[in-house]
């Protein structure tokens, strides 16, 4: 589907750049416009990656949860929408951590490893998201 969300956001950014050229703009307005342009660029940079990231994270989180023993997590209630499901799965991780307590070292390490991979793969946090490889 073209323009993609990122292409569309970059297009809006070009409009803002054109407004910023206006010599009559006050310093305060110029600063606000500059902030808006930076935010838009950041958003645009990760926009097309977002869907892939959420799908990957949902699958990876489900796999981690499925490996945990003795937890009563109802996976049948997961939302169809990927973003809503992501919030549910992350809440399940919180519940799992609270249930596990401090002494289930192996399970906690597994969750920590997944969350660490998630930080690297998140396009909202990285210019070049990195998904875990087989070696990770």
């Amino acid at each position: 589907m073209r323009p993609s969300i990122a292409e569309h956001l970059f297009g809006i950014g070009r409009l803002l750049d054109a407004v910023a050229e206006d010599p009559g703009l006050s310093e305060a307005s110029r600063r606000l416009l500059s902030d808006a342009t930076k935010q838009l660029a950041r958003l645009a940079a990760g926009a097309d990656e977002r869907g892939r990231f959420v799908d990957w994270d949902n699958a990876a989180t489900l796999a981690v949860l499925a490996d945990l023993d003795g937890l009563d997590l109802d996976l049948d209630l997961l939302a169809a929408d990927a973003v809503a499901r992501n919030g549910q799965l992350r809440q399940m991780l919180v519940t799992a951590l609270e249930t596990l307590g401090e002494h289930e070292a192996g399970a906690r390490a597994q969750i920590t490893r997944h969350l660490r991979h998630r930080v690297d793969a998140n396009p909202a946090l990285n210019k070049q998201p990195r998904y875990p490889s087989e070696d990770d």
Binding site: R90, V94, E102, T112, R116, V119, N122, L125
Partner: protein, 331 residues
């Protein structure tokens, strides 16, 4: 009416109410300054008369913005500044408080304005190494002076209460409560870190006044690099000295406080021990290092809520650096 005109009128009325019309108070040179993320500041000059003549005083108003990274209480900060007034700690002199913003439209502190400027990265800036190291030593001495304050002889004990041995758990409770109140979505990263911290919290062996946001960016330096004031006391409380030591040696703020090879954490600890006569517990500092990262993440989450609610314009969120540091520390 513009913000500038409105604050001018409000200030004129405010000081007239405080000093009385016979003092003929005059507000002038009102200007807004953008310093710090938690407050809106206005500089102004005040002139007034009494039996000894006409006086002039540079002042600053610190106001709550519509939203910030953290919500703190103006009355508490005012009380801290009052407690510091007769101490050796260079802090702004508190003048007046509008705790709920009844007169100045927003909760506001009026304080003396010291000369100097704040430089966040002066420790690693353009000055020659020896000057930067001298600055670092000076900051360490400033922190030591805060911790050497005899808080029991001030109103701080009544204001905060002594947390005693469980100071670390008390701070963890506080920041977990802020997290619970402000998070818009689940953060298992912080649940994990909170559990790790709770299981290993050190015991406090000597309560001090903790600044809780000590950094060069909160220190005013004059043209000769002398400290004229330590600012931003809004997070101050009674607690464990290692909280401040952990804050200034946390890896993510290294560029603000340490110099590679020339002023490392051990240099800072050695000077601190010499100045205070108190041994630094390295294990406790390591815990507070991780707590500092946790606290930073919570502040970013509070900022995220403020952004979503339209109270600030910067879209905060826990950064990759903060989350990586946190997860790598607790694994």
């Amino acid at each position: 009416m513009s913000d500038d005109a409105a604050i001018f009128d409000a200030l004129q009325q405010f000081v007239t109410t405080r000093l009385g019309p016979r003092a003929r108070p005059e507000v002038s040179n009102v200007q807004r300054v953008a310093t710090g993320r938690a407050r809106e500041n206005w500089l102004f000059d005040l002139s007034w008369s009494d039996d000894t003549g006409r006086h002039h005083e540079p002042l600053i108003v610190r106001q709550d913005p519509e939203g910030g990274l953290i919500d703190t209480d103006r009355a508490t900060e005012f009380a801290v500044l009052q407690a510091l007034e007769s101490s050796a700690v260079p802090a702004p002199r508190p003048r007046w408080l509008d705790a709920v913003g009844a007169e100045l439209t927003k909760p506001s502190l009026v304080m003396s304005r010291s000369v100097g400027t704040c430089e966040y990265y002066c420790i690693n800036g353009d000055r020659p190494l020896e000057q930067r190291r001298a600055l670092a030593r000076q900051f360490c001495a400033l922190l030591a002076s805060v911790h050497l304050l005899d808080w029991s002889s001030t109103s701080l004990g009544t204001l905060f209460g002594d947390p005693g041995p469980r100071a670390a758990l008390g701070e963890l409770d506080r920041w977990e409560a802020i997290l619970a109140a402000d998070q818009l979505e689940p953060w298992p990263e912080l649940t994990l870190a909170g559990q790790w911290l709770r299981a290993r919290a050190p015991l406090n062996s000597g309560t001090v006044l903790v600044h809780a946001d000590f950094k060069p960016g909160n220190v005013l330096l004059d043209d000769d690099d002398a400290v004229t004031a330590l600012l931003d006391w809004e997070l101050a409380h009674l607690g464990d000295r290692h909280e401040d030591l952990g804050w200034v040696t946390q890896p993510l703020r290294r560029g603000e406080h340490l110099i590679d090879g020339a002023w490392e954490a051990e240099h800072l600890f050695a000077l601190y021990e010499e100045l205070t006569g108190v041994a630094v517990d390295r294990v406790a500092v390591a815990w507070w290092n991780i707590f500092s990262t946790f606290k930073t993440a919570v502040m970013q989450i509070s900022g995220l809520r403020a952004y979503v609610e339209g109270r600030i314009d910067e879209p905060y969120q826990p950064s990759a650096a903060v989350l990586r540091e946190l997860l790598d520390s607790v694994v």
